[in-house]
C-alpha cells in the first residue's frame, strides 16, 4: 500500500470511530436501545485500533501483543466484579486511563526531547496531559482504596490542607510553564510528575464516603480531559473527540451529583464534610420506637401503596435480592410497590438502579426523586433500607444542619415509615436523623438482609393463616 493510501485509510477509520462513539452514547439514552450502544462502541474502537495498526510507524508488534494480552487478561475479571463493587472498578479504570495518558505524555517528551522536536505548543500540551493523567491516576487509586475500604473512608484532614494542596498544584503548573519556556530543562519533568502524583493523593484524602459519587464523576471528567490533552499532543482528532465525550459526561454527572447534595464543586473538594457536626448532634435525644420484623410485616400487609427507599446500606448488606422477594410478596397481594431513587444514593451515579436491576426488579418501578416526591403523602408505608441522609427532613427546615438545602425524598410525609438500620449510629455525614424519632416512624434494628428476610418469612407464613 502506498503511504498516502494508508494515511487515508487510517483517517477514515478514525472518522468512523468518532461517529460510532457518538451513536454509542446516543443509543445509551434509553434501556431499549442501550445495548446497541455498546455494540457501536466496540465497532468504533475496533475500527480505530485496526486503522492505527496500519500506521507505517509501527514496525514491531511483539510488545503491542504483550500489552494487549495483559490488558485483556486483567480486563475480563474486572468486568465480572460484584455489582456492589462497581464503584471501585470504575475508580480503578479512571486510574488506568490517567496512567496511560501520563505515560504516553512522558514517552513523547523523551522522544521529542532527543530529536529536538519539542515546540512550545507540544510542550504545553504534554504538561497538561501529564499533570491531568498522573493526578487522575493516584486520585482514582485513592478513591478506589476508600471504596474498597482498604483506606479509611472517613475524611482525613490536617492543618492548612487546602493551602498545601493548592501550593503543590501551583508548583507543578509553574514547572510546566518553565518547561514551555525551556523544554530542555528535563530535570523539571520528574518534578512535574511527582507533584502531580502527590496532588492526586492529597486531593482525595479529605473526601468522605458520602461524597464519592461526585468525586468519581469528577475523576471521570479528568480522565477524559487527559485523553483530550493526549489528542492535542499526538494531533489526533478521534482522541480529542472521545476524550471530550468522556470529559463532558463526567462533568454533567458531577453537576447532577452536586445539585443533588446542594453543594458546590469547591465545597466537595475542599470542604471535608462530616467532621464538624459531632458537637451539634449532642442535643436532646428523642426516643425511637423499635419494632420487630413481624410488626413490619403486619404494617406492610395492610398497606395499598408501598415505596421502598434503598441506600448504600442495602448494597453493603447485599440485601437487594431479599428486597425483590419482599416486592414479589407485596405485589402478589395487590399492593403497589415503587422504588424511590435519590441521585446520590450509593457510591456512584445510578448505583441503586443497577443493583435493583440485578435483582430483576423491572426498571419501570424505579422512580426518580422529583417524580416520586409528590406521591409520598398518599403512600401508606415507606420502607427505608439503609438510606440515611437522603431521607433526613432536617435538610428542609434546619438551617444549622450541614445538609440544609439538600433535596431529599419526602419520606416523612408518608402515613407511616419503617426504617431498617443496623444501629442508631449516624450515617456517613455524621448527622442525626430526625426521621427516626418521628411519630409515624418505627425502627427495625438489624442487618438489612436478615431483617427483610424475616419480613418476607412473616408475610409468606402469614398468608397461610389468613
Amino acid at each position: 500500500m502506498s503511504p498516502a493510501l494508508t494515511e487515508n485509510l487510517t483517517q477514515a477509520s478514525y472518522l468512523a470511530a468518532a461517529g460510532l462513539f457518538i451513536f454509542s452514547l446516543r443509543w445509551l439514552s434509553r434501556p431499549e436501545t442501550a445495548r446497541r450502544g455498546v455494540l457501536a462502541g466496540v465497532l468504533g474502537m475496533s475500527a480505530a485500533i485496526v486503522g492505527t495498526l496500519l500506521h507505517p510507524e509501527i514496525v514491531h508488534f511483539e510488545w503491542i501483543a504483550v500489552g494487549v494480552v495483559v490488558g485483556a487478561l486483567a480486563g475480563v475479571p474486572l468486568s465480572r466484579v460484584a455489582l456492589t463493587a462497581v464503584p471501585q472498578r470504575t475508580a480503578l479504570s479512571h486510574a488506568f486511563g490517567g496512567l496511560a495518558a501520563g505515560l504516553v505524555g512522558t514517552a513523547k517528551y523523551s522522544l521529542w526531547l532527543a530529536d529536538g522536536e519539542l515546540t512550545k505548543f507540544r510542550m504545553g500540551a504534554i504538561a497538561v496531559e501529564v499533570i491531568l493523567g498522573f493526578l487522575t491516576f493516584t486520585g482514582s487509586l485513592m478513591a478506589a482504596g476508600k471504596l474498597q475500604e482498604v483506606i479509611p473512608t472517613r475524611p482525613i484532614t490536617y492543618r492548612n490542607q487546602n493551602v498545601i494542596n493548592l501550593g503543590l498544584l501551583g508548583i507543578a503548573v509553574a514547572a510546566g510553564l518553565w518547561l514551555i519556556i525551556d523544554p530542555t530543562k528535563w530535570q523539571l519533568f520528574p518534578v512535574l510528575i511527582a507533584l502531580s502524583l502527590a496532588f492526586g493523593v492529597l486531593l482525595i484524602i479529605p473526601i468522605g464516603g458520602a461524597d464519592m459519587p461526585t468525586v468519581i464523576s469528577l475523576l471521570n471528567s479528568y480522565a477524559g480531559l487527559a485523553a483530550v490533552a493526549m489528542g492535542f499532543v499526538l494531533e489526533n482528532k478521534v482522541l480529542i473527540i472521545a476524550g471530550a465525550l468522556d470529559g463532558s459526561s463526567g462533568f454533567i454527572l458531577s453537576v447532577i451529583m452536586c445539585n443533588a447534595m446542594n453543594r458546590s464543586f469547591t465545597n466537595v473538594l475542599f470542604g471535608a464534610f462530616g467532621q464538624v457536626q459531632a458537637a451539634a448532634a449532642a442535643g436532646e435525644q428523642k426516643a425511637v420506637k423499635s419494632a420487630t420484623a413481624q410488626d413490619a410485616a403486619d404494617l406492610l400487609e395492610t398497606a395499598s401503596q408501598v415505596v421502598v427507599v434503598p441506600g448504600y446500606g442495602m448494597a453493603v448488606a447485599q440485601a437487594q435480592h431479599r428486597v425483590r422477594e419482599l416486592r414479589d410478596q407485596l405485589t402478589k397481594r395487590g399492593i403497589s410497590v415503587k422504588f424511590a431513587i435519590h441521585p446520590v444514593a450509593g457510591r456512584m451515579p445510578g448505583h441503586m438502579n443497577v443493583l435493583l436491576a440485578e435483582a430483576e426488579i423491572p426498571y419501570d418501578e424505579l422512580v426518580e426523586m422529583d417524580d416520586i416526591n409528590p406521591d409520598f403523602p398518599q403512600t401508606d408505608v415507606v420502607l427505608v433500607v439503609g438510606a440515611n441522609d437522603v431521607v433526613n427532613p432536617a435538610a428542609r427546615h434546619d438551617k444549622s444542619s450541614p445538609i440544609y438545602g439538600m433535596p431529599i425524598l419526602d419520606v416523612d410525609k408518608a402515613k407511616s415509615v419503617i426504617a431498617i438500620k443496623r444501629s442508631m449510629n449516624p450515617g456517613f455525614a455524621g448527622i442525626d436523623n430526625e426521621l427516626y424519632t418521628a411519630d409515624n416512624t418505627v425502627m427495625v434494628f438489624g442487618d438489612a438482609k436478615a431483617v427483610i428476610g424475616d419480613i418476607v418469612k412473616a408475610l409468606s407464613g402469614g398468608s397461610g393463616i389468613h
Partner: protein, 98 residues
C-alpha cells in the same frame, strides 16, 4: 502550519464537547452507572497513542512506557465494554401480566 492544526483541533474539541453535553443530558438517570463504564471504555481510545509508541520502538524507555499504556488502555476497553453490556442486560421491563 502548526498554528493552523492547533486551531483545527481546538474547534474539534469545542464541537465534540457540545455534542457530548447534548447527548449525555439525554441519558436516563437509570443508566448513569453503565454510562460511566461506557464512556470509560470509549476514552480508552488512548490506546491509539499507546500502540504507536509501543510499536515504533524508538528507545527502550518509550517502548516500556508504551507497553504499559497499551496494557492499561486494553484493560479499560475490555472490562469497560464487557461490564457495560453485563449491566445493561439486567435492565428489564415488567413482564406483561405480572
Amino acid at each position: 502550519m502548526e498554528s493552523l492544526d492547533l486551531w483545527g483541533m481546538a474547534f474539534v474539541f469545542m464541537l465534540a464537547t457540545f455534542i457530548g453535553f447534548d447527548v449525555i443530558r439525554n441519558v436516563s438517570r437509570l443508566l448513569h452507572t453503565p454510562l460511566m463504564s461506557l464512556t470509560n471504555a470509549i476514552s480508552a481510545i488512548a490506546v491509539v497513542g499507546s500502540l504507536i509508541i509501543a510499536g515504533e520502538q524508538k528507545t527502550t524507555f518509550s517502548t516500556v512506557l508504551g507497553t504499559i499504556a497499551v496494557a492499561a488502555s486494553m484493560t479499560n476497553i475490555v472490562s469497560g465494554f464487557l461490564i457495560t453490556d453485563r449491566m445493561l442486560r439486567m435492565f428489564k421491563r415488567r413482564e406483561p401480566g405480572k
